[in-house]
């Protein structure tokens, strides 16, 4: 039985796809058979971030409508043997995903995978609700910024009332907070909400803090999940988050301002 994890946020553009790609890849690096599903029907992007856009033949909607088998639609990652991607449809609209259809695909995948990562579309409407409905756990991606925090709180409300677990009255969905695009310098300057500010407001356990990093854009330019770039802070911070997801207790890194040399400080470099 696979564990189903939704990566969600409410607000758009906060780093859901970046995080889905990094965390899914990180789980596969830890020998967990993992599939990442793109739920963003009409705005497919996970394939680009994973660097497999030219190998997409069939998609999630084709599988649901019976036009292709799951095996035909799954794309095997070229770097990691345990990693697969199920791309979203680029041409259909969001109504193409039905609860029954999604459930069938998740049940089939559950038989041979350890983890199913669902990359949610932005918003709190049908598409986002479909991505989170079957989840066992949720990674709520939040930027330290007012509108993102408010929207994360909204999505938490939906997880607690509209997910399958909520409807069936079983154990609630396990919630994790992932703060991304964190800039310790701006926090010190009092210009950005701190980790504890965001934790205080959302009141869910922290899974990771990913610093604002140029490496993320560089990685996406190349179609390489940033976690594979083990020299970058963002990559390492994602590795730490994956270890925590797997139950390890890992210290937090890159959440304080590093001491800079005099020269670097003068040049304002080092961001």
């Amino acid at each position: 039985m696979a564990k189903i994890i939704v990566v969600t946020s409410g607000k758009g553009g906060v780093g859901k796809t970046t995080s889905s790609a990094a965390i899914g890849t990180g789980l596969a690096m830890n020998n967990k058979k993992t599939v990442i599903i793109d739920f963003d029907v009409g705005l497919r992007n996970l394939d680009l971030i994973m660097g497999c856009e030219r190998r997409v033949v069939y998609d999630f909607v084709n599988v649901i409508s019976g036009e292709a088998t799951l095996n035909q639609a799954l794309i095997k990652d070229k770097r990691l043997k345990n990693l697969f991607i199920l791309p979203a449809s680029q041409t259909r609209d969001k109504d193409a995903l039905t609860k029954k259809g999604v459930e069938k695909v998740l049940n089939d995948l559950s038989k041979d995978f350890d983890f199913i990562i669902c990359d949610s579309p932005a918003g709190i409407e049908k598409g986002a609700q479909m991505a989170l409905y079957f989840a066992d756990e949720a990674i709520v991606v939040t930027n330290p910024e007012v509108s993102s925090v408010r929207d994360s709180d909204r999505i938490l409300g939906i997880l607690q009332s509209k997910s399958r677990r909520a409807e069936n009255g079983g154990d609630p969905v396990v919630e994790h907070l992932l703060i991304t695009r964190y800039d310790p310098e701006r926090v010190i300057a009092g210009e950005m909400l701190s980790i504890s500010d965001v934790e205080d407001i959302l009141a869910i356990p922290l899974l990771g803090v990913i610093p604002e990093s140029e490496a993320v854009l560089k990685a996406s330019n190349q179609g390489t999940p940033v976690i594979l770039d083990e020299k970058t802070k963002a990559g390492l911070a994602y590795s730490d988050a994956v270890m925590r997801l797997l139950g390890s207790n890992v210290d937090y890194r890159f959440i304080t301002v590093e001491k800079k040399g005099f020269f670097k400080r003068m040049m304002g470099a080092g961001r």
Partner: protein, 83 residues
């Protein structure tokens, strides 16, 4: 950040703490709204209309909230009347 920023920042209120205060209020509000029956906003509008016949108030001066206290539903109506 230059040394001058430090002087300035200590006088002004830091924007991050303003953000936190605003979020605490809006999130608390959002959470109560989430757990309320769908008719509450509509009922609030109607109550505002009735009060407006007599006193000049704005929508945000009326707060309607449904709470459950030991199996008993309590409708709380809070109206801030102008001086």
């Amino acid at each position: 950040m230059s040394i001058f920023d430090y002087f300035r920042k200590s006088k002004e209120k830091q924007t991050a703490s303003i953000a936190k205060e605003r979020l605490q209020i809006i999130v608390a509000h959002q959470r109560t709204a989430m757990n309320q029956p769908d008719y509450i906003p509509k009922m609030q509008q109607d109550i505002v209309k009735v009060i407006k016949k007599y006193v000049d108030i704005e929508k945000d001066q009326v707060n309607v909230q449904l709470d459950t206290v030991n199996n008993c539903s309590v409708l709380e109506l809070n109206v801030t009347l102008p001086q």
